[in-house]
Symmetry: D2
Subunit: 377 residues, 4 copies
C-alpha cells in the first residue's frame, strides 16, 4: 500500500476491503511521505519492519528485487489526487498490478498517460469507484442490459453531502484540507470528489455515454477556491437526457447517492441509504422491491454478495467486491488461468479517463456562457 497513514479515512477502508474476504494480504507499505510516520503505521499494522518503506520509489524498487514468490503481487495507491500518477505509473512499469483511488489522476493528461501504461504492460488496474461494487447496482445494470426498461430516456443521479457546509478546511481537518486545495485535488473540488462517482454510476448502470453537458458550478462557502456544489444537465448518446447533482454543502445530508433511470417501459431507483434494495417501477403494474441476497437475482449480483437476504451488507463490502474481483483476476493470472467474466467487472482505466474528462468538461462548462458543451475525449 502506498499512502494510508494514521488519519486517512480511505486508506483504512482499502485495507479492510482488501483483507475482508481473505483473498489478499497486506505485506508491505510506504504509508507516508515521512519515513518515520510510515514506519509507525507499519508497526501498527504489524508488518515486518523490512517491508515498511520510506517512499514509494523505495518500495517499488525493493519489492521488484525480491524473488517471485516473495514480492508483492499488486499495489494499492490511496494518496491524495496529486500523488496518484507517479507511483501508479512506476508500479505498472515495474510489472505490478495496481489498485488506485479515484479520481484517477491530477489531470486528464496524466490519465491518458496512465491508460497507455496499463495497456502497454498488460496488467490489471482497478479504480475504486465504490458504488459500482454494490450488488444491487450490478443488478440494476443487468436489468438495463436485459431491456427491462426499454430504450433509456432519462437518467438522474444525485450525490448530496453536507460535511463541507462550513469552512472545515480552516480547522485542522485533513480530509477537508486537501480536498479543497487546488494544488492537491486538481481543477475540481466537489465535482472531482463525488461528482465523478455520480458520473461513473450513471454511465455504468445505463451503459450509455454522456455526449453533452451544461453545468452550473458553484462555490457556496465563502473563501473556498474550488467548487463545493453543482448541477449538470446531461445529454447521452442515443438521445437520453438527465441531471447530475453533486453538492457538499447540503446541511444535514450524509452520503445518500441516488440513481433513478427511466426507459420506455419502466424505471429503476437505487439509494445508498438503503443499498440492498433496488426499486423497479412499471407504468401498468405494481413496483417491485428487488433485494440483495435473494435467489431471483442475476449471477453477477449473487457473486457480489456474501450473506443471505435480510443481512445488510454495506460500504465496506461494496468496496471489498472490487478488491475481491481484482484479486481473483490477479490470482488467475498467477495461475495461468482465464478469469471469469464476472471477475472482470470492476472499474478500470477507461472509467478513469472518462472521469478525468468529466472534471475537465464540467469545470469548462461551468465557466461557459454557451449552454451546451460537447463531451469529447
Amino acid at each position: 500500500m502506498i499512502g494510508g497513514g494514521p488519519d486517512a479515512f480511505i486508506g483504512a477502508v482499502h485495507r479492510t476491503a482488501a483483507i475482508m474476504d481473505g483473498a489478499m494480504d497486506l505485506v508491505c507499505g510506504a504509508f507516508s511521505s515521512s519515513p518515520d510516520r510510515s514506519r509507525e503505521m507499519g508497526n501498527l499494522l504489524a508488518l515486518s519492519p523490512e517491508r515498511v518503506y520510506g517512499s514509494f520509489t523505495e518500495m517499488i524498487e525493493k519489492e521488484k528485487a525480491l524473488p517471485d514468490n516473495m514480492r508483492m503481487d499488486a499495489v494499492s495507491i490511496v494518496t491524495p489526487n496529486h500523488l496518484h500518477f507517479k507511483p501508479a505509473k512506476m508500479a505498472l512499469e515495474a510489472g505490478f498490478h495496481v489498485v488506485l483511488d479515484k479520481p484517477m489522476t491530477f489531470d486528464l493528461t496524466e490519465a491518458k498517460s496512465l491508460k497507455k501504461a496499463v495497456e502497454k504492460n498488460g496488467l490489471y488496474f482497478c479504480l475504486t469507484h465504490t458504488y459500482s461494487g454494490y450488488p444491487m447496482i450490478k443488478e440494476a445494470r443487468q436489468q438495463v442490459k436485459n431491456g427491462k426498461l426499454g430504450t433509456i430516456r432519462k437518467i438522474f443521479v444525485t450525490y448530496p453531502q453536507g460535511w463541507l457546509n462550513t469552512a472545515l478546511e480552516q480547522t485542522e481537518n485533513k480530509q477537508a484540507s486537501w480536498r479543497t486545495d487546488p494544488s492537491k485535488s486538481g481543477k475540481a473540488g466537489c465535482m472531482g470528489d463525488i461528482g465523478t462517482h455520480a458520473f461513473n454510476l450513471a454511465e455504468y448502470i445505463s451503459g450509455l455515454q454522456v455526449s453533452k453537458i451544461c453545468a452550473d458550478i458553484n462555490i457556496v462557502v465563502p473563501g473556498r477556491q474550488l467548487d463545493d456544489d453543482g448541477a449538470v444537465l446531461l445529454r447521452f448518446e442515443g438521445g437520453a437526457s438527465g441531471v447530475l447533482i453533486a453538492s457538499q454543502v447540503l446541511a444535514g445530508e450524509e452520503n445518500d447517492l441516488t440513481v433513478k433511470i427511466y426507459g420506455e417501459t419502466g424505471g429503476l431507483e437505487w439509494k445508498h441509504s438503503d443499498p440492498n434494495t433496488l426499486l423497479m417501477k412499471y407504468p401498468d403494474k405494481p413496483a417491485e422491491i428487488w433485494r440483495a441476497g435473494t435467489g431471483y437475482l442475476s449471477a453477477v449480483a449473487k457473486h457480489n454478495t456474501r450473506t443471505p437476504s435480510g443481512h445488510p451488507e454495506g460500504f465496506l463490502e461494496a468496496f471489498a467486491n472490487h478488491y475481491r474481483n481484482f484479486g481473483l483476476c490477479v490470482q488467475a493470472r498467477i495461475n495461468g488461468e482465464k478469469p471469469k467474466e464476472e471477475w472482470l467487472d470492476f472499474p478500470g482505466v477507461e472509467e478513469g479517463v472518462r472521469g478525468m474528462a468529466f472534471i475537465d468538461h464540467v469545470i469548462a462548462s461551468g465557466k461557459s456562457e454557451t449552454k451546451w458543451t460537447d463531451f469529447a475525449i
Copy 2:
C-alpha cells in the same frame, strides 16, 4: 362553477374541496360548452334546473341579475387553460370573487390583464396551486421564515409523473388530449401543467423569487407538439441556486412532487407521497420528523388541518384548504369583517402572473443557445 363536466378530473376535485367543510355550497353552473351536457351535469348534481346555464356568459349575466341574497357569491372556473381568461374577467367585472384552476391563463398577456381586473375590482381571487394547501408545506414556509435554515442556499424541486409515457392523447383520453394540444394548453405542456406547480412551491416555501433560468426542455414521446419533460437550472435573488425537474414520461412514477431546501444551518424535505411529514435536517444533530396534526406546529399549519396527528389527510383536504380560506375571506367580506391573516394565505393573481412568466421563460430558455435567461416580468 364554470366547466367541470362528467369526464373532468379537476372539476370533481373542486366540487369536493368546496363542499367538504360545509363552508361553501354549489348553487349554479355552466358545466359544458354544450348546453345539453351542462344540463345533464346539473341534473347529476341535483341543482335547480333554472340555475344550470348553457354558457358562462349566460350564467354570469343571470346570476348578476338575481337579488343580493340569492345570487352566487363566487365562481369556480375549471375549464382547460384556453378558456380561463374570458369567464374569469367577466366574472370579476360583474363583481364575483373567483376561484380559477392553474395555470392562470393561456398566455402572459392575459395573465397581466386578469391581474389588473382583480386589482381594479378589489375582489378575492384564488388560483388553485393545490400543494401550498398542505399543512406541512405551510409549516415548511414557516420554518424558513423563522430562520430555522439560515440563509437559503439550494432549492430542489422535482415533479415526476409517468402517465404520458405513451401517446395517450391518440386514444380517447380527454385529459391527455387537451394537455398536449397547443391550441388549448398554450406554449407549454408538462411545464405548464406541473412545472408551474413546482415553480410555485419553490417560491412559496423559500420566500425567494427566481431570477435566472437555464432550461433543457424535451419532447420525449414522438409525435407530440408540446414538451413532456424538462429540467431547469435555477438562480434565485440573493444568490441561492437550485434545480427544477418536471416530467410526465417517467414510467412508473405517479405524482410524487418533492421539495428539498437547504440553508446555512439546516435543510428541509417534503414529499407528496408522505404529505403529512416534514423532514428537518441539521448538520450536527438528529434529523426531525415533523408531523401534521401535532401540538408543536405553527398556528398556520394547525389552521389547515382537520384531524389529529396520525389520521392522514390528503390531496382533497389540501385543495379544500384553499377553498376554505378563500371562503372565509369571502364570508368576512359579506359580513363586513376583516379576514384573519392565515385566511389570506392562498395563491392569488400575483402567483398566477409569475406562473405564466415561468412558462414563457422556460420555453424561451429551452430554445436558447445561451446558458442563462433572465427571469423578468
Copy 3:
C-alpha cells in the same frame, strides 16, 4: 345526527364524511343532551331552527311525523358508547336507516338486541369501523379471497397510540374523560376504543373468525379504571394464529394501525401511516407495492377511490367511503332498486356484535389464569 356537539372529534368527522361526495345532506340534528347547546350547534351548521331538536326522542318522533319527501332518510349516531343503544333502537323502530359509531353498544346484551332490531325492521345499518373503508384494505381482502396468499397461517394486527400516556382525563380533555370512564365506555378502555378496530380489521381482511384468545390486559397509567394497554394471542378457526396489540400509552406513537397477514404462498402488509400502499410479499420473487388509484386494482378497491394514483386520500375519505356506500344503498331502497354488491361492503350489525363480544372476552381473558379463553357468542 344525534350527538356531535362543538367539542366532539368524531362528530365533525362524520359530518365531513357524509357530505364529502355530495351524496348525503345534513338536514336535522339533536347534537347535545342540553337543548341550548344543540341549538347552538345547529346554528353553527346553518340548519333550519325547526329541525334542531332538544333530544333524540324529540327528533325521531318529529321527523317521523313529517311527510315522506321531507323527513330524514337516515340518522347518524355519534354519542359516547353508553348513549348508542337507545337512540339507535328507537330510530330503527321508527323506520330510519342508521349509521352508528363503534363500538356498537355499551355491552353485548344491547348489541344482540340491536342486531334483532335491524333484522326485524329490514333497514340498513352501518357501524363506522373506519379502516375497512380504505381502498387498499379492500384490496387486501380481495387478495386473500383470491387465494394470493394461500391458506392463511399468521395474522398480526397492531394499533399503537400514545395520547393517553399521561392521565389526560384529569385535565379538561373531554375525549380522554369519557373514554376512561367505565360508566360511559363500558367494560373496556383501550380494547373497546381501538382494540375493536384492530379485531375488526383482522377478521375483515382475512375472512376468518377468531376462535380463542389469551389476553394480557394492563392499566399502565396509575389511577385509571379501564385498560389503556394490552396484547392478545389469537387463534382463528381453521388453524391460523396471530397477535393483536393495542395500546394508548406508547409515548410518541400517533395512530399507525398496522396489519400483516401471511399465508402459505405470500404475505401482505398495510400501515395506516401510508394508507394508499399495500405491500405484497412472496417467498421467491420481489415484493410488490400495490397503490391506490391504479388501473390494476380490483373493482371494489377502485370503487372506493376518488383520485388518480399519487394523489393521497386519507382518513376522511375512508370514512366517507362507508357513508357513500351506505348512502347508495339507502338511495337504491328509496328508488326501489337492488344495490350493487360493492355498495353493501360496509361494516354492519354482525361486525358490531362480534366487536362487543371481543370486548367481553378480552377483558375476561385478561383476568383469567387459564391460558386460552374460547371466543363464542
Copy 4:
C-alpha cells in the same frame, strides 16, 4: 476455529468478522468431524497443514502443547448446537479464551456448567448474539440507561423470517436440516435459533430481565418436530410488559428483527432492515432520526463504527464488533493491561445461560394450560 466447513453459513461469517479489522488472524482449525473435509477447508483457507486438525480434541491438545508465542490465543466454535459444549469446555480448561455461536449449548444444564468453567478459569468468553454488536443498538441501550425514555413500560421485539415456510429440511439444505432436528438443535427450533436473539436484544437494550412469560408455540409446516413459529407475552421485573414474536414461516420475510421500547417520556425503534438508524419518539415534540457515524452519538456507539455517517455498515461489521471487542480484551490480557469498559461490552456466559433458560421456559409455557410461567433460573 472449530466447525465452519465448506457449506456452513455462520462459519464464513465468523471468519470474515474475525479478520475484518486485522485484529485477529486465523491460525488453525478443526473444521469438520471428517479429517479429510477439515484438511480440504484448511487448504482453501491457506492454513499451514500442520495446524489443520482432524478433531477438536486433537486441536486443543496440540495447540496447548505449542510454545506460548506460537499457539492460538482463542478459539471460535461454530458447530451446530449439540456440538458446542464439549469443545468449549475443553478449550476453557486448556486455558483458551472462547468465542461461541449462539444458542450457547444444547440444554440449560450444559449452559450452567459452561458458566462455571468460564468463571473458574477466568477467561474471556464471547457468545455471538450479533445484533447487540450494531452501533445503533448500543446507542439505544445508552438512551435507556440515560433515562431518555423514563421508566420503561413496554417492550416489543419481533423476529420475522420466511425461509422455513416450506419443508426445506426435506431437500438437501444443511442449514434447514440441523435446525429442525431435535437431536442437533435441542428442545427448540425457531425459538432457539432466532427467538433467543430477540430475547437477548430485549434484555440488552432495556437493561431489564424477563420475569414471566406466556407462550404460544407452533409447528406450522406439517411434519416438523420442532417449533417454527411463536409469540410470547412478556412481563419484566419492575412492571414493564411486552411481546416477543419469532417465526420462520412468514412467507416473504427476510430477517427484519425489530425492537420497539416505550417508557414514560419517549419511545425508541430499531429495525434490522435499516440498521444504521435509531428512531427516537416523544409525546410532545418531533421524532428524531439518530444515525450511525455521526458526531452526536455516545462514545460506545462511536467505538463500534468504522465509517462516517452515510456509509452503511451491516451484519458483518456488527459481528466484527464482537470479535474486535473480544480481541481487544484478549490482547489487553496478553499485554497485562486493563481492558476499557467499552471493550467489555460483548455478550457472554451470563447471556448464554439466560438464553438457554428462555428456550426451556418458552417451550414449557407453550405446553402449559396455565397462562403465566415464572422465568427463574
